[in-house]
């Protein structure tokens, strides 16, 4: 029995990681007053570029870096639309998703079915010997550890640094922030870009560690789960971790019971929790 719970929770941590990255990025962006529904787009771009880079160079580290950068670049389109042109944030995010899904399905087509050596599991010596928790938390790949380190870092950055204060000020009231001397547009651009980098990292984890393969639209709505999770976490990075693991759990068991990755249970879960 303990064994089953252990393996379920281990899987939850693993499959929750892409969503957690997306959520952390979205929390950062929304704290600066920008809703980015393009998380799905940045994530799928990150997954695609990371996979192509790894397949071409056999270097997953380079793949992760390129994937993260690609995710960031993609989200800068959204930044241009909503910060410079002041377009509708929701619609622009959806447009970004459509664009990224199209582009990745085009450039990724020759790579469907290609095999790669993705990111390997790195067991942390010592910590992984802790009974129960050790296997759940410390037998994963580097990107998982990075995700769980990012959450407290993000909390510290948002709530304990001057820059975090600026970001929150922009999100609360742009005019006041401007009067305070914050360069609002520059800040929003960087925050959207960094949020995209996070989504790209999530995508990279998906294609390089979780599935180690590329198929078009492989994110299958994870980006939107991340956006929903941001609300569920009430824009707090640490609650985001909790949510990611809990939400990822139905996602994982769904994909075990069904051949195709089902999004049904998490959706119902989100709807229940948003009430």
């Amino acid at each position: 029995m303990i064994g089953i719970i252990e393996s379920i929770l281990t899987g939850a941590v693993r499959s929750g990681t892409p969503i957690l990255y997306g959520t952390l990025g979205e929390i950062l962006t929304e704290r600066a007053g920008i809703v980015n529904l393009g998380v799905e787009g940045s994530m799928v771009t990150g997954a695609c570029v990371a996979f192509i880079t790894t397949a071409e160079t056999q270097d997953p580290v380079l793949g992760v870096i390129m994937g993260a950068l690609a995710g960031g670049l993609a989200s800068l389109i959204h930044a241009f639309m909503v910060v410079t042109l002041r377009a509708n944030q929701i619609a622009s995010g959806l447009a970004l998703m459509f664009l990224c899904l199209g582009v990745t399905s085009f450039i990724g087509r020759p790579y469907v079915g290609v095999r790669i050596t993705g990111i390997q599991t790195l067991t942390i010596p010592g910590l992984s010997d802790i009974p129960f928790l050790g296997r759940i938390m410390f037998e994963h790949d580097v990107l998982v550890y990075l995700a769980y380190l990012s959450a407290p870092l993000m909390w510290w950055f948002l709530f304990r640094t001057r820059w975090g204060l600026y970001i929150r000020a922009v999100g609360e009231n742009k005019l006041v922030a401007f009067a305070m001397g914050v360069r609002v547009q520059v800040l929003q651009y960087s925050v959207i870009g960094i949020g995209g980098v996070f989504s790209g990292l999530g995508g990279a984890h998906l294609s390089l560690a979780y599935t180690q393969s590329w198929v078009e639209a492989m994110t299958a709505g994870r980006g939107f789960v991340a956006v929903a999770l941001t609300i569920f976490a009430t824009w707090h990075p640490l609650r985001g971790v909790l949510g990611a693991v809990f939400l990822a759990q139905p996602l994982l068991s769904a994909s075990r019971f069904r051949p195709r990755g089902s999004m049904c249970p998490p959706t119902i879960f989100i709807c229940c929790h948003m009430c």
């Binding site: 529904l37 389109i77 639309m81 042109l85 002041r86 377009a87 509708n88 929701i90 619609a91 622009s92 959806l94 447009a95 970004l96 459509f98 664009l99 899904l101 199209g102 582009v103 399905s105 085009f106 450039i107 087509r109 078009e216 299958a220 709505g221 939107f224 789960v225 956006v227 929903a228 609300i231 089902s262 999004m263 049904c264 959706t267 119902i268 989100i270 709807c271 948003m274 009430c275």
Partner: protein, 345 residues
């Protein structure tokens, strides 16, 4: 007079600028094609020749326009009051599923009674499915965009569950689709084309939407909520009732599109009855700025592109994704143009 001339001039410039920017989208995708060693001129030629070059192509464009127009109206009605319904895809699937239930269990009914029943079922299916996000929006302020979007996945999975499960045709050699509907449950085709009577649902929905918007109190209040929700609330307009009403009517129309797909084109329920009609319809609505009459025009444009996308898959072995990229770029351009005309946030 001078003012009028100025306005007209501005409009001409506007149209020119818009066309130029759309051309930019085509050029951008052309460059993408070039960089992957494909000939963009050949691809564009094939897209437009395949869809506009023959009566068959044109009739197929109209066939595509039917679900596109219905899904566009499904997006446009709630959009007029500032709600984003991205769930037309899911509502279409559930509408198709309810209509399928009717066609499979009431198949022996005479055509005159059965078809209206199926239309009603299709509409109700979509409306009930759209009621879920509307209810959560009213009761708990749940963001309807994310909710409708995620429910699309749910709807498609429910349909797949049915066609893989209890509705699977025993004679299908294990393929996932239902029995073929009886003749009484089929919508009529016109001539040798695949244009079916569902066209009148789409045009009817657009005309009704236009009239309601321009000529009724309902449309007036809808526009007020869209322009200034706070003022509307203080004026005593029941916003919550409108949220539920617009989303459910929109969902119903998308469901009607699903009913038309299964009862005319497919003749049975199967996975993949919709090739992203809900999402393309969403784009149609936005390109038309939620204006009912422009929806027809934009549905034609995107119908051409999406049929052309099917054509280049067969003739040039280019992926359909090219058309998706093109549509997304056009969407971006319209959004940017829309925002540039606005003064304040």
């Amino acid at each position: 007079m001078e003012m009028l001339a100025l306005v007209r001039n501005n409009r001409v410039i506007d149209v020119l600028r818009m066309t130029g920017m759309m051309a930019l989208a085509f050029i951008a995708v052309g460059l993408l094609l070039l960089s992957f060693g494909k000939n963009p001129i050949e691809a564009y030629g094939e897209i437009f020749k395949g869809s506009l070059g023959s009566t068959y192509g044109l009739s197929e464009v109209v066939v595509k326009m039917i679900p596109l127009m219905l899904c566009a109206v499904a997006t446009a009605i709630p959009a007029r009051m500032g709600l984003l319904n991205v769930g037309a895809e899911g509502q279409l699937h559930i509408g198709a599923m309810w209509a399928t239930w009717g066609a499979l269990t009431l198949g022996e009914w005479p055509k005159e009674i059965l078809l209206p029943t199926l239309v009603l079922l299709g509409f109700l299916g979509g409306a009930v499915f759209a009621f879920i996000p509307a209810f959560f929006r009213v009761k708990a302020g749940v963001n309807e965009t994310i909710c409708t979007l995620l429910l699309n996945y749910v709807a498609i999975l429910i349909v797949e569950h049915m066609v893989h499960g209890s509705w699977k045709d025993p004679m299908s050699f294990n393929w996932p689709f239902t029995r073929e509907f009886s003749d009484a449950a089929r919508l009529a085709f016109y001539g040798n084309t695949r244009i079916h009577t569902g066209l009148w649902f789409a045009l009817g929905a657009i005309v009704l939407f236009y009239l309601a918007l321009k000529r009724t109190r309902w449309g007036y209040e809808l526009r007020i909520i869209g322009d200034n929700a706070e003022a509307a609330r203080r004026a005593g307009i029941p916003i919550n009732r409108y949220i539920i009403l617009t989303l459910c009517i929109g969902g119903g129309l998308a469901g009607l599109a699903g009913m038309a797909e299964v009862c005319a084109i497919q003749g049975r329920l199967r996975p993949g009855i919709s090739t992203g009609f809900g999402y393309t319809g969403f784009l149609v609505s936005w390109l038309a700025l939620h204006n009912p009459l422009k929806i027809i025009l934009m549905a034609f444009l995107l119908g051409v592109l999406s049929l052309g996308g099917d054509m280049i898959q067969i003739s040039l072995e280019l992926p359909y994704a090219i058309v998706n990229i093109l549509m997304a770029l056009i969407f971006f351009i319209v959004l940017g143009r829309l925002a540039a005309g606005r003064k304040e946030y």
